[in-house]
Amino acid sequence: MSTKDTSDQAPLIDIQNLTIRFGAQTVLRNITLSVSRGETLAIIGESGCGKTVLMKTIIGLIRPTSGSITFDGQSLADLNEKQMTQLRMRFGFVFQGAALFDSMTVAQNIAFPLRQHNIRTPSEVQETVVKRLSEVGLPESIINKKPAELSGGMRKRVGLARALAMAPEVILYDEPTTGLDPIMSDVINELILRTRSHNPVTSIVVTHDMRTATKVADRVIMLYPLTRLERDDPQILYDGTPNSIEQISDERVTQFVHGEARTRIEEMALGIG
């Protein structure tokens, strides 16, 4: 077996016994998870279960309290500032609210990572900006607009175009369809699928939209808030294909999948969860 075969089979992202604590509050506990190259993984779960925290930890924006994260054979804990910067250039992050720089135009936003790392000439940068915009279905006429002048769906797509600018190996989507109308949500889902078919990328999609999870993902994991779990319960309730999640008998999973309140109002009144 060649070395290349071995590296292809090894998981691209490997998380071992990850625990994240903010002060006295534990958000993630003993998470073990691996993501293969080329896979699209959806992380689902209700608000506050630690989905976004998990994704920010993968890219090194949050440091683990304990446990380890390995990306392409490199442990994140061993990397210095410069190596971490190099590593982040292999990622694209689509933020929940797009997180566009509001002092810059659309073109400057998309060009930002390219300019920061001085890897293209100005004309190449301009070319990439236009190309990425057309990939996410936006006209060239908006390049001089400020983010405040765009609609929510447009901002999300500019955010995706910016994440794609560096042609990343891994794209992390944080709640890509939250706050959008059903049609625009499906546009984003289609773009996630299209991005994957055009580029050999690994994707992690954090969402609480079951339609997104079933449409775009090869694999789904469901996280549960620690405040609702007993001391030794695993935090990952489900790890499998999007189709077989329907067959799961775990009440907690079916409640989320079907979006049922059940006794939540009474529980919340009692201060549980």
């Binding site: 500032e81 250039m89 509001d102």
Partner: protein, 291 residues
Amino acid sequence: MTPGAETTAEKSGLIAKLYLWLVNSVADIGAIALDWITSVGSVFFFSMQTISWLITRVPKKETLLPNFYQVGVRSLPVVALTGTFIGMVLAVQSYSQFAHIGMQTRLGGVINMSLVTELGPVLAGTMLAGRVGSAMAAELGTMRVTEQIDALASMGSNPIQYLVVPRLLACLCLIPALTVVAVFMGVVGGAFYSIFILDIDAFYYWHNSRSVVGLYDLFSGIFKSLFFGIAIALLGCYRGFHCDPGAEGVGRAATAAFVHAFVAIIVLDLFLGILLIGIHKMIWPAGSYIF
């Protein structure tokens, strides 16, 4: 139960309550102290990171210019106005005291000495802590809340190097320059009021100013403002970076940036004042009439 036993039970209940209150108070004071020490450590660590980035990499021109414009050009009118009025107010307030003993020409020395060494730098610093420090905290706080700082980091830029270093440099270079403007306008305002409105003889007014205010005093004022500038930038940026979520968080960050910078300015003013007088005495033990 006998009445005596009831009183004893009541007493022990009261003692228990008092004990609990005391323990809680000590715990609260301890928590506040711990919180304070943690945030001082955190500000120190943040400052060290900023300084290390400042030394290792020169920021790009496109990040420097907007900050220099915001801090320098946009603050100029308000700083000049503040300076002018401080000078005139000093003239108004001191005149009656000095006129009483027929020493109104001494006003020049008093006004200009206070302006150059104390009031100019401190009031310009306070003004700029409100204008520049709060604006930095609000802007960076909004960037933190809307995940723009995370976005910067996710694209392989260091947020401290990209956002804090240019702001620190702008304050470091321009707050002393603005202090010079405030002092100059104060001198002009004070002289205008004294000479044209209070009818003090111009020749003696300037003559007394020259004999009291030396170059070392001017240096003291500018030297202090250098530290005020550092404090304003670092505290403003720190508050923005550690902003709580929501509009309330941003508002609190902006207020905290001003209050902390103001406290830092008056504390630094005292200690730098002691240091500068000490140095002056060390160099010129018999006093200096030139510097």
